[in-house]
């Protein structure tokens, strides 16, 4: 067996190796369910793997050379964020690495000369501004319940975190819509066929570079759904059920909502973070003083 001190490394490696497979599968099921909701047959479950395989078969037309560096950094830092998370690392460090990876994709979009790419980059920044407070509040909420920022401690705690953080959970679900690039908040780029700004941040990426963005997105899926696990960590069966229900809800919202303007996205994300999140934390703080 693996010695105790090496276990975090092992979990991190498992994430790096298996997350793309799981993430791609999730993306495939997502597309299938979306198609069924629209009364279509839909592509095969393995379609995302075919897509990325194809992208690596194409040539790589690079607009500016720095693009390559930014895209690779986006992928690598997404892997680092997820690996830190799954190896039981510090939640705050995970969030920093996660944000950094998104800064790289914004820089990549700004590196090209296309106005579509620039509009996409601006919108991606607005998305980061919108979801960041809620993600931080999620980490803070988990700290208030378990007295630790370390994922390993949070996941080992026998406290039903969801009962202490219902407001934070709802807030997290709302920013999850932004993070999964789903309607109504898919304003910087979208998985849907047609997009008002062509493809936003991904406009000037083609071939293998676009494939890397897609793989980074699969890593992101697994990491984001892993955070939902933390809310239900005391009961793994319930955690899996919660992830399935939340993801299904996201697909449903995606297919029933139209895209909103960035103002409404920012308002929605901040108002939920400001009310549900802060009130939730306030109540926890109060209870912490009353009930020792």
């Amino acid at each position: 067996m693996i010695p105790e001190p090496l276990l975090p490394v092992f979990y991190g490696l498992v994430y790096v190796l298996l997350a793309p497979l799981l993430g791609g599968l999730i993306a495939g099921i997502d597309r299938k369910v979306t198609a069924r909701m629209q009364g279509r047959v839909g592509p095969p479950i393995l379609q995302p793997f075919y897509d990325v395989g194809k992208l690596f078969e194409k040539e790589n037309p690079v607009v500016t050379v720095t693009q390559n560096f930014y895209v690779l950094s986006y992928l690598v830092f997404m892997m680092v964020a997820g690996a830190l998370f799954f190896s039981g690392g510090d939640m705050l460090l995970v969030i920093f690495a996660f944000t950094l990876s998104h800064i790289f994709i914004v820089l990549g979009a700004y590196a090209s000369y296309s106005p579509y790419s620039h509009v996409g980059a601006e919108r991606e920044l607005l998305q980061i501004i919108a979801y960041e407070p809620m993600i931080i509040l999620t980490a803070v909420g988990m700290y208030m319940v378990t007295q630790s920022f370390f994922v390993s401690t949070i996941v080992a705690s026998s406290v039903p975190i969801i009962l202490y953080l219902p407001g934070i959970f709802v807030g997290y679900m709302i920013v999850l819509t932004i993070k999964l690039r789903k309607s109504p908040f898919d304003i910087s780029t979208s998985h849907h066929a047609h997009q008002e700004i062509v493809k936003g941040v991904t406009t000037d990426f083609a071939g293998p570079n676009l494939g890397k963005i897609e793989i980074a997105h699969w890593y992101e899926y697994v990491f984001l759904l892993g955070v939902i696990w933390l809310f239900f960590a005391w009961n793994p069966l319930l955690a899996v059920a919660a992830i399935l229900v939340v993801y299904f809800l996201e697909i449903l919202i995606d297919n029933t909502m139209s895209r909103v303007k960035w103002q409404l996205m920012l308002r929605t994300a901040w108002i939920t973070a400001g009310t549900l999140g802060i009130i939730n934390l306030g109540v926890l703080y109060y209870l912490g003083m009353v009930v020792p």
Binding site: Y50, K54, E59, N60, A193
Partner: protein
């Protein structure tokens, strides 16, 4: 079968078509025909596309944009001319401003005649294009693309 044939992404350019063929192309995306079954996606961005679907008889105004869209598609790529106007200029071929067919501007691989071309024949044309796409990929592997690059290489 390679990945390329399982995931052909399409970009559609309207070179002054009457919109008849364009409506039929979009019809292929509706639940009735549902081309996403074959992994086909209508991208709207030439840099993400593999197949260029082109409609209309090209004229002086849009032959430069058409060439531009074609050049932005990464190799390997194929062009499908949809409708009789795109194939030969159709009834407009004698007009003073009409070039007369897409193949006067860019190389065309598949011609789908019809006025307007039916969704079934458009899908058939795209499936034929997939075979040509695969040939081009194999050719690219051995001797490089027209732009002088191989798969995954930077242009």
């Amino acid at each position: 079968m390679t990945y390329l044939q399982k995931s052909p992404w399409i970009v559609h350019y309207n070179a002054s078509s009457c919109n008849g063929c364009d409506i039929e192309i979009l019809a292929a995306l509706t639940p009735v025909f549902d081309v996403e079954r074959f992994g086909i996606i209508n991208t709207g961005n030439p840099k993400h596309a593999d197949i260029l679907l082109c409609t209309g008889s090209v004229n002086e105004q849009n032959k430069v944009p058409l060439k531009n869209v074609y050049d932005q598609i990464p190799e390997p790529k194929v062009v499908v001319a949809i409708g009789i106007c795109a194939s030969s200029g159709g009834i407009f071929r004698e007009c003073y401003n009409v070039s007369g067919g897409i193949d006067k501007i860019i190389p065309v691989d598949v011609y789908v005649p019809g006025c307007a071309a039916r969704p079934e024949s458009i899908i058939d044309g795209v499936v034929t294009a997939l075979g040509i796409l695969e040939q081009k990929r194999l050719a690219m592997q051995t001797e490089g693309s027209p732009a002088g690059t191989k798969a995954g290489e930077a242009r």
